[in-house]
């Protein structure tokens, strides 16, 4: 996404960050809940964007990893463990499960892989619902405490929003680092041409498993924040429709674009709220808007911007060539 000057980009970034910190100070309880939910869903969608958008591995199980993280955090914090420890366990647990779920991807790809992950999603849901001794079954887990950070309680919506926002910032930096590292390049190689990648010494097996494991671990982080955000969890929010929602966030925002999940989660979380005034029609309008967007730009919102910038570059390049050519002709 070159085309903007670097200082302009940095200024824009700082402005957005400052806005995210300052503006919500006046928000009511509900507004802060929605915004916190946006931060949490962005983290989960960034994980899926890594697996799907960068490494090209289709997954319909990201919602299940949010569930794994949420249950890990809920069970641990209701038993007196601090949230950071719970987040760590959520990361390790969903990383390990994600690694194992990556094995089918070594054999099957695309829609076959989608079906395997879909089956896993259903399996996870059944575990959340039926293993009552651990998860509370259909009654779920209530009274999930919110943590104290540096002696400051985060029971109120605003402090906890900052916990979510801070976590999003940390995850964003980590993902930014990851995709710019040789690992990120190897993930893109998996997506673009695994055969060629192998012949260049890229261990496609290991990177495929890593793409699944890291993407899933971010789902776990999101879940571990979701539990104290809602302070009550049951199996329903973590069924297949959450996985589909997260998939939609990634696709709508722009799969394989760094900022895709931010935009996608914003649309998925905020648009239904903005459309609330239409009362019964909002889901329909929302669905139509998404369909129209994907017909117009299958690569998502950032795909539109990318195409525009590419077209501008091509135009600039051909203008330069035209000038050079006319000079050359004039000189002859």
């Amino acid at each position: 996404m070159s085309g903007f000057g670097k200082p302009l980009k940095i200024a824009l970034g700082l402005l957005v960050i400052a806005g995210l910190i300052v503006v919500p100070m006046n928000f009511n309880r509900y507004g802060l809940f929605i915004l916190s939910q946006w931060a949490v869903m962005t983290i989960a969608a960034m994980g899926l964007n890594l697996t799907l958008g960068y490494a090209g591995q289709v997954s319909l199980a990201q919602g299940a990893f949010v569930g794994i993280g949420a249950y890990a955090a809920a069970i641990m914090t209701t038993h007196g463990w601090p949230l950071p420890a719970a987040i760590l366990v959520a990361i390790v647990l969903s990383f390990a499960v994600g690694w194992v779920l990556g094995y089918p991807a070594l054999r099957v790809q695309h829609h076959y892989l989608a079906f395997v992950t879909l089956a896993f999603s259903t399996l996870a849901f059944l575990v959340f619902r039926n293993e009552s001794w651990l998860t509370g079954g259909i009654y779920g887990i209530s009274n999930i405490p919110r943590p104290h950070f540096f002696g400051i309680p985060t029971n109120k919506p605003l402090p906890f929003y900052y916990v979510c926002l801070g976590s999003l910032a940390i995850v964003s930096l980590a993902v930014w680092w990851l995709i710019r590292s040789p690992w990120g390049r190897a993930f893109m190689a998996l997506r673009e041409n695994p055969l060629r990648a192998q012949s260049l010494g890229i261990d496609t097996r290991r990177y495929t498993l890593m793409a699944f494991a890291i993407g899933s671990a971010l789902g776990g982080v999101a879940g571990a924040l979701y539990a104290p955000l809602t302070q009550y969890i049951d199996p329903v929010p973590f069924n297949l429709s959450l996985s589909l929602d997260l998939l939609m966030m990634v696709i709508v925002g722009g799969a394989g674009f760094y900022f895709g999940p931010f935009l996608g989660a914003m649309i998925a979380v905020l648009l239904p709220e903005w459309l609330r005034f239409t009362e019964g029609y909002y889901l329909m309008l929302y669905a139509v808007a998404v369909m129209l967007l994907l017909i117009w730009s299958p690569t998502g919102i950032l795909g539109i911007l990318d195409r525009y910038l590419a077209a501008r570059r091509t135009k600039a390049a051909s203008a330069l060539r035209a000038v050079a050519k006319s000079r050359l002709e004039a000189a002859q």
Partner: protein, 247 residues
């Protein structure tokens, strides 16, 4: 001269068809071996068996005297065996420079250092040199998918050299490349062969290209070795003339 690659009685069957039917040869250190033969004679299948992209039905491949039959392509590449492809195989969305960095990065450090270390794995300089060497300077930041066919062929070859390989198997490097670029490509290959002491095996249909580039030529027909020798010997071999001009 010692043998870099020794291939003994390699066979590959697809159902009832023997694509490669007991091929044995060796490749000497520093040579450029040409591999020619009519379409469908098993050249590419032989390459894929040597490189671990296909599992041979029988036979043995040795690299520097060590058996490497059945190793995965990535493992072979780490041992210094590299390749180019008959059909274009670049990473279209990555820039030319990123393609080259990607081609070399797995030869730098280990998994952990590639995660926490520099984002270019310290290869920007090497990539720029390779870009200069293949005269792709003005395209360094362009997505590889936007290059012309011939330029992508050059990039494909350049990528094969990024890991500093000992042995490079090139599958039709000249296919679809225009004549002026072909001379360039040949010059580059000869230069790398001499300077870096890299050994090449080249599959090619362009006879002039093969005969002028290679030190030895192996001719295949119907999955078997038909002839092996210096280019001028092979050119006069009656069996080779029959295979190409017969029917």
């Amino acid at each position: 001269m010692s043998a870099v690659l020794e291939v003994t009685d390699i066979r590959k069957r697809f159902g009832g068809i023997s694509a490669v039917d007991g091929v044995s040869f060796d490749v000497r250190e520093g040579e450029i071996l040409g591999l020619i033969g009519p379409n469908g004679c098993g050249k590419s299948t032989l390459f894929n068996c040597i490189l671990g992209q296909l599992t041979p039905s029988g036979g043995e491949v040795k690299l520097d005297g060590k058996v490497v039959t059945g190793l995965r392509p990535a493992e072979l590449n780490k041992l210094g065996v590299s390749r180019t492809f008959q059909l274009l195989q670049v990473f279209p969305k990555l820039s030319v420079r990123e393609n080259l960095i990607l081609a070399g990065q797995e030869h730098q450090g280990n998994m952990a250092s590639r995660l926490v270390g520099r984002s270019d794995a310290g290869l920007t300089e090497a990539a720029n040199q390779m870009i200069g060497f293949f005269k792709l300077d003005h395209l360094a930041n362009e997505p590889a998918g936007g290059l012309s066919y011939g330029q992508q062929k050059l990039l494909d070859a350049a990528m094969a050299f990024m890991g500093g390989p000992r042995l490079v198997l090139l599958d039709e490097p000249a296919g679809g490349v225009n004549p002026s670029m072909l001379t360039d490509l040949k010059e580059r290959l000869v230069a790398i062969n001499r300077e870096k002491n890299a050994t090449f095996v080249v599959i090619e249909h362009n006879m002039e290209f093969v005969m002028s580039l290679c030190t030895r030529v192996m001719v295949m027909a119907e999955g078997k070795v038909l002839a092996m020798g210096r280019p001028d010997e092979v050119r006069k071999n009656p069996a080779v003339i029959e295979a190409y001009l017969g029917h």
